[in-house]
Each structure stands twice: as C-alpha cells, then as structure tokens.
Symmetry: C2
Subunit: 151 residues, 2 copies
C-alpha cells in the first residue's frame, strides 16, 4: 500500500468537525472516514459518516471512490444521502490534496448545491480537511473543518 | 425495518450475473450487494461489488444511497470506481423498482456513458435486476442481468 499514489490516505480516521454556512447556525459533529484500497486496482474506496456529538444520531454520509491520475492528479466521485452526486478533480502535492468540483448535480428533491471545494492535509496520523460550498444562493463560502486521527 | 418503504430491499444479496454490450464480448461475474438502513433516516445505504468468477479479481463496484420519495417514488445517487456518477429516479410498484437516469456524468478520464436504466424485482429472498446502458456511441442496449439471493 505504501507505493500507492494515494497511500497516505489509507486507513480509518475519526475525530470531530465543525460546520458553518451563511444560511445556518454553526454546528459540531463527530466523524469517521475510511479510505480503503481495492485489490488489484489503483482506486481507493471512500466512505464517510458523521453524527451529532450529543445524541449520536446520524447526520451526514458520503460514499464513493478516489482515482489517481498521472503523477499528481486525482479524480473523486461521490454520492451523498441528501441526493447529491459530485465529481471533484484536483492535485496531490506531497500529502496535501486540493479538489474543486467539476460537476455537482442533485435529485428532484435535493437542495441546490452549485460548487464544492475541498482540501485534505495529512500530517502523519493526523488529517485536517476543509470543505467550501456554494449553495442556497450563497457564493463559495467556508462550510466544514475537521481534524481526524488514524485509528 | 419492515415498515420502511424500501424495506423489501434490505439485506446482503449475492449471486451471479452476465454482461453484454454491442462493443464488448459477453462476460459473467460474481456479485454481492448490500442495502442497509441508516438509523433514524429513511435513506438506504447501497454498496455493490463484482468479481471475476474464475480469478476472483475485483471487477466493478458502486456505492451510494436510495431515497424513498412520497408514496411510490425513489431517487438513487451512485458513484462508480470508473469515474461515473449517476442520479436515477423512478417508481416502486410492490417489490419492483424501475429507474431511469436523470444525470450521468464522468470525470475527465472516464468512459462517456449517456444513460442507464435499471429494474430490480424482488421475489421473497430472490432479487433479479437488469441494467440497460447507452454509451460508447451505442443507443440504450441491454448490459447486465443478475440473479441474487438474500444471505
């Protein structure tokens, strides 16, 4: 796994995050993220879930795949339980990944999300990520920040 | 779970399928599909993987979410390791689900898939599904058929 171009992401990560957006009240959440290799393929399987820190009730989740491209490119395809799918593309520099959405689309009943931009920075067994979002008539704005540790 | 509008899908299903398309040679595959409830939410988590029946090497996989809508509607959001995301919408009639794609989009390096249409028919602990696909310049054509049993 160590020679996988995205090998620094592989593992189960957990911790806490906080969210904000111009249209909602700030909130916090617990989170677990797994990046898992698929035997014989360069792709990583990705699954994420968050929960309310007080009630432990499920909040959000995402699932999909990370695809390395060339020397330092990455493509990410994700589905959200809120009825959103997204394609993000970006670059890997060392253990930092920067992504911007190429496509965000929703089902007939989903909230209208226009753009998502993400950064993931891995420092040993610590991962910090940010998600910026354009949605609900608001321009690209900070939405999520979390700090996770590899279990 | 029995009063979940998509409760008849819940479980781990496994079996074999066969594939065809105008541009490729027919093939067979082993498959496992899980439909899992998410506590406190109407959505089902969906994860699917297939493998070569001879070598057991991984072939394909899909992950995403199924969302019941109203009395008999369903929305499905999926990500594929091939770099495809799709939104399908359709109807539930008894234990038959009929879906057609509203959105199919791909990363910069993905094959160009135009449309996917799926049927799932559950008869007790047996599930049969079909997938038709328009891709690679071909109109909507039969692509996959599988028969799975609930474990």
């Amino acid at each position: 796994m160590s020679d996988h171009p995205l090998g620094f992401l592989i593992g189960v990560w957990s911790g806490e995050g906080r969210g904000e957006f111009p249209t909602i009240s700030p909130f916090t959440y617990g989170e677990e993220v797994e990046f898992a290799p698929v035997a014989g393929k360069p792709v990583l399987r990705y699954a994420q879930r968050t929960w309310n820190l007080q009630t432990h009730a499920p909040m959000h989740g995402e699932s999909g795949f990370w695809r390395p491209v060339g020397d330092d490119g990455v493509e990410v395809v994700l589905a959200h339980p809120t009825g959103i799918v997204e394609i993000e593309e970006g670059q890997v520099a060392g253990t930092t990944v920067t992504l911007d959405s190429k496509v965000v689309a929703g089902t007939s009943t989903a909230v209208d999300v226009k753009q998502l931009a993400r950064t993931f920075v891995v420092d040993g067994d610590v991962m910090r990520y940010t998600v910026d979002m354009a949605a609900a008539g608001q321009p690209l704005s900070p939405h999520l920040f979390a700090e996770l540790r590899r279990g």
